[in-house]
Amino acid sequence: MKSKSVRLEDIEKKYGKNTVLKGINLEVEAGEFLVLLGPSGCGKTTTLRLVAGVERPDSGRIFIGGRDVTDLPPQRRNVSMVFQNYAIFPHMSVRDNIGFGLKMRGVDKVTIGKKVSEVSRLLKIENLLDRYPSQLSGGQRQRVAVARALATPFDVLLMDEPLSNLDALLRAEMRGELKRLHRKLQHTVIYVTHDQVEALTLGDRIAVMFDGEINQVGTPEEIYEYPENTRVAGFIGTPPMNLLEVEFDGEARVDGLEFHIPAKIRKFLETHGIKRFKLGFRPEYVELRRTGMSGTIVLRENIGYNEILNIQFGNHIVRAVTKRGEVRDNRVNFSVPEQHMRIFMNEKLVRDI
């Protein structure tokens, strides 16, 4: 299977008066696994549908493998897709559904049969092949949809939340399968998900979308460590990054309380004459020691092995992740290591301090 790059240039899409995509620019390299991540309604599905060609952009161009496909109908783009709501044909058996794309390409029956059983083994639906979609559970239907997409030859694979309806165990397993498959075959994938674990484990790169705009594209590490703006910071991670509003007058203060910042940052703020900014740091990096700022734990959220402490600091809540039971006292002192502090000016990350 060859793989091809995908490029979106200044894509705009309106539904009536409502602008759903506001100038999307995105480059997916050949063989890359790109994850589209964003809140519900931000335009992920719409983006996929544009790449697939079932929807036309109002302006902008779409390229697949360097070729402008903006005006090509879907059947000539050689893409494959897992639909968010499956769209497996109710009048065909699972077997025929999976083989549909091959049949449309005039592939002979024997080859189709081989491919169908290969893919269905991968998705653990071999025993369902002779059933009809109405006889399947939601999760089984979803796997048929994935199988159909994988069985069809394609230059680009589009997957719209393909694992959303599976139980946690099966989801983890399928995630592993997809990852392994991608390593082996190196096809170009655009993968939509809400699930951050999925995004972070699967994606070569992640594109984070809000309200029809891509806010940041980067490797999972970049997105996690250096969120481009406060929106991304507040969206990625469970729980997401702490964001404190800080006033600076030689000392950093949060709601009037002093917040310890390292000399390097202090110097940066002074040289640029910055008076207000947002300070971000991940709950996982908060250190709970004898020294540092002091606050009161107002809530403990049990998440299994760990717990999330909600620490009242001024009018803010600072969240910290620790091993459960490690902190007994409700009065705590906390600090944040220098390399994990992020400064946001006008909601944008300040990169070189």
């Binding site: 549908r49 697939a52 060609g53 079932v54 109908p73 879907p74 059947q75 893409v79 494959s80 897709m81 639909f83 709501n85 499956y86 769209a87 497996i88 044909f89 109710p90 009048h91 065909m92 549909f100 794309g101 049949k103 449309m104 390409r105 159909r148 069809t152």
Partner: protein, 276 residues
Amino acid sequence: MRSDEKIYLLLAPLVLYILFFFLSPFGSAFKLAFFNDSGKFTLDYIVKTIKDVRFYSALKYTVLFVVTIIPLQLVTAFVIALYITRRGSSWLMFIVSIPLAISDLAAGLIFLSVFSESGFLNSFLYSLGLIKRPIYFLSYQNTWFLFLAVVLAEHWRATSIVLLILVAGLQMIEKDFHEAARIFGAGFIKEIYFVTLPLLKPSIQSALIIRTIFAFQMFAVVLALAGDMIPVLSGEAFFWYSLYRNPHIASVYALIIILISVFFTFVYLRVMRQEL
């Protein structure tokens, strides 16, 4: 009273009403067709009906109407339905459904304005210079044209009901299936053959059955356009009752109509199950 009993009580008037008006005539029709006025069993009426020359042409024309009009309607309605659903054009749907509530009598009279001697078709042909004087389209010498005129009028009037059924069916086939078919490589023709038609099968079936049953009862449109120059089964039943005052033979015709409708319906169901 138990709640189930209450339900049957609510339903009773309906069931009794329908039993009375639909089933009791069914029995009486048999009685009229097979028993004479003094109550004796007889096959005279059947014999008399089949010996009548008009019976054969009525049967021939009725079947001819059914087998030309209905396939034609199905195909056009399908094309229009596809167009309307894909374009999501509801005002077009409204315009096309205007003839829906027009009776076959009125439709016949409306098409009279097209085909009559000084009608619009003649005027149009004349203004194009194709004819020197009006043609008598609707005359007994032009049986094939009479037939065509009735087909057109029926097509104009009753395609909208097929269309309505098919559009409703198409709308139930999710947009997703259409898109999935395209993405997995089906072009227009393949999509229709492998996806649209099989999914639309139940709607096509209902449209076919409903239309066939009503087409076998066709008569006012024929009467309006062709008078008694083209006999049809319902028309004969009508004439035998109201002109010749013979309810027995009229009943024989009525029974033939239901027999032939049921036969066609079964054939459809059979064929549809195997095909597609």
